[in-house]
């Protein structure tokens, strides 16, 4: 591979990530509106994000809705994954399409549907309403993750457990579950993030009291009134950076230690 291709690739990823970091200096800026470079620096916006109920409320709501979505979509999605991966049943093809469809239908279309539907059910502007809507979007994520793990699952270990006299539930507890635990964790995390990040449906159906963080951020963009958005953005960026940083650091350590281990 030529050197220029390599440089091009590095350049692209730098251009990809670089611009995002402009939110960091902005979050320390004293300017009341979008102004770069900032006229001065302070910590006021961070203080606001952690003390103003307009921000703390949505942050707490987002965590609660994310956790609720995670639990609900795991409870429904994991059994569905086993059914899809291990059994033939009537309407299986139809079921597969219905499970995957929430990934395909644009969120704005669902927002419109929930807007009228939850109105009639009395669920509009309520936290359960947002959780129910988000669970629909997270179930396919869980199912894709778990069915892909099940496709690589060697069922002979379960047969071995059964041959050794383990009852089905014991087999599941001692064999199936431990093997699939990483996939379950990833699926749960994806379900949570999917909900935590979801903006469009939250804008339309989470009211003032159950407003999520993305809704609060979206509203402060539109009003151009609350520069605390930059502090919230920086915190979200830092969270992603922390997770990726640790994973990447781990991968780097592995890559470094391997050749050393081999030569010694």
């Amino acid at each position: 591979m030529s050197r220029s291709t390599l440089i091009l690739a590095v350049l692209v990823v730098v251009l990809l990530t670089g611009p995002m970091f402009i939110v960091v200096p902005m979050s320390f800026s004293t300017a009341p509106s979008l102004e770069f470079p900032p006229p001065g620096y302070w910590l006021g916006y961070y203080r606001r994000v952690f003390s103003d109920p307009n921000w703390t409320g949505p942050i707490i709501n987002s965590f609660l809705i994310g956790l609720g979505t995670m639990v609900l979509s795991m409870l429904l999605g994991v059994p569905a994954s086993f059914a899809l991966a291990r059994y033939q049943f009537r309407l299986r093809a139809a079921f597969r399409i219905i499970v995957l469809m929430p990934l395909i239908v644009p969120h704005i279309v669902m927002a419109l549907g929930y807007y009228t539907y939850f109105g009639t059910l009395g669920l509009v502007q309520s936290m359960p309403g947002v959780i129910l809507a988000h669970a629909c979007l997270s179930i396919p994520v869980v199912v894709l993750t778990v069915t892909s793990a099940l496709a690589n699952f060697d069922r002979r270990v379960e047969q071995a457990a059964a041959n050794l006299g383990a009852r089905p539930l014991t087999t599941f507890r001692l064999v199936t579950f431990p093997i699939l635990r990483p996939a379950f964790l990833v699926a749960a995390l994806f379900a949570f993030i999917h909900s935590f990040d979801e903006t469009v449906i939250a804008i339309f159906i989470s009211g003032r009291d159950s407003a999520t963080l993305p809704r609060q951020m979206y509203n402060s963009f539109q009003m151009e009134a609350d520069p605390a958005i930059s502090a919230a953005s920086s915190l979200l960026l830092a969270a992603v950076l922390a997770v990726i940083g640790t994973r990447w650091a781990a991968a780097l350590v592995k890559a470094r230690s391997k050749p050393i281990g081999a030569s010694s």
Binding site: T5, F36, P79, L100, P106, Q159, A162, A251
Partner: protein
């Protein structure tokens, strides 16, 4: 001892009824496994979606009036055309930027591959809102780009924010990571020895790439392009926040019909047109490749 003996013979007689793993009762009823999810999705996904279909043909009066209005309105047809045009541009631009990144990450591996994928992942996992906000600052009237242009003597500085250009640019930037991951998933399975074989048979690097590597990476290109194009068709947040308020894209138009104009029939009809476009593309994809591959 006798008990042990009967124990070991018992499975032999029961064996024909058992499936691997011994989930006998579930074979007759995988129903128990899928029914809760099916019921849940029927009530909280299919019904609200059906409600949109129904509203589109019943509000304000029964019939296809909303659709007729959409296709008679030059404004709405303009929105539809702009949406497709923008999605196409975004797909092509993100492909051009993503291909070299995925290519190097897949072929180099090691530290450089990990670095590239790590940076792509950082961008991938950062909220669309955060990235939209960053572009709002950069393209803003008091932002660095306009500041630089003014310092260079460009007067008056062009309006960047709240234009279709801004929205297109930002969406392409946001969807590059999706494209990279779709390409990488296919490219990492391409056998490296093929390229070496091409080289040893006398192909120059470009020719080896064009005749050996590129064709094998095409499924990834198709995956990524379909995913990015469809995401872009329904993109709401970024075009609404930094795009032109007059030149809306279709998702923004739905939001406007629903929030500002309170025309739910029209909003529903517009939604159905967007949905039909997305579903048609997915159906086409499913026919040729199988839909699950999209997210693998």
């Amino acid at each position: 001892m006798a008990l042990q003996l009967t124990d070991t013979t018992a499975p032999a007689t029961a064996a024909p009824r058992r499936v691997p793993g011994g989930w006998t009762w579930l074979v007759r009823a995988p129903f128990i496994l899928y029914a809760p999810a099916a019921l849940f999705l029927a009530v909280f996904f299919l019904v609200p979606l059906g409600l949109v279909v129904w509203t589109s043909i019943s509000e304000p009066e029964l019939g296809l009036g909303n659709y007729a209005e959409f296709f008679a309105s030059t404004y709405d047809l303009g929105v539809l055309a702009r949406t497709f045009r923008t999605a196409l541009i975004v797909t092509l631009v993100s492909l051009v930027f993503a291909y070299p990144v995925a290519y190097v990450a897949a072929r180099k591996g090691g530290t450089i591959g990990a670095f590239l994928l790590g940076v792509v992942a950082l961008s991938f996992w950062t909220s669309f809102l955060v990235r939209t906000y960053a572009w709002m600052v950069i393209m803003g009237a008091r932002g660095p780009v306009v500041g630089l242009l003014v310092a260079l003597g460009v007067e008056p500085a062009p309006q960047l924010l709240f234009t279709t250009f801004a929205a297109t640019f930002a969406m392409a930037h946001m969807l590059v990571p999706f494209m990279v991951l779709a390409l990488y998933a296919v490219m990492r399975r391409i056998d490296e020895t093929h390229m070496r074989a091409a080289a040893s048979l006398g192909a120059r690097p470009w020719r080896a790439f064009a005749t050996v590597y590129l064709p094998q990476s095409l499924p990834g290109v198709l995956n990524g392009a379909t995913l990015v194009f469809i995401t872009c068709l329904g993109f709401y947040v970024t075009p609404t926040l930094i795009g032109s308020p007059q030149d809306k894209m279709i998702a923004g138009r739905i939001g406007q019909e629903m929030e500002q104009l309170l025309e739910f029939g029209a909003a529903s009809a517009t939604s159905m047109i967007l949905l039909a476009a997305a579903l048609a593309l997915f159906a086409l994809y499913d026919r040729f490749f199988g839909i699950e591959r999209m997210w693998r």
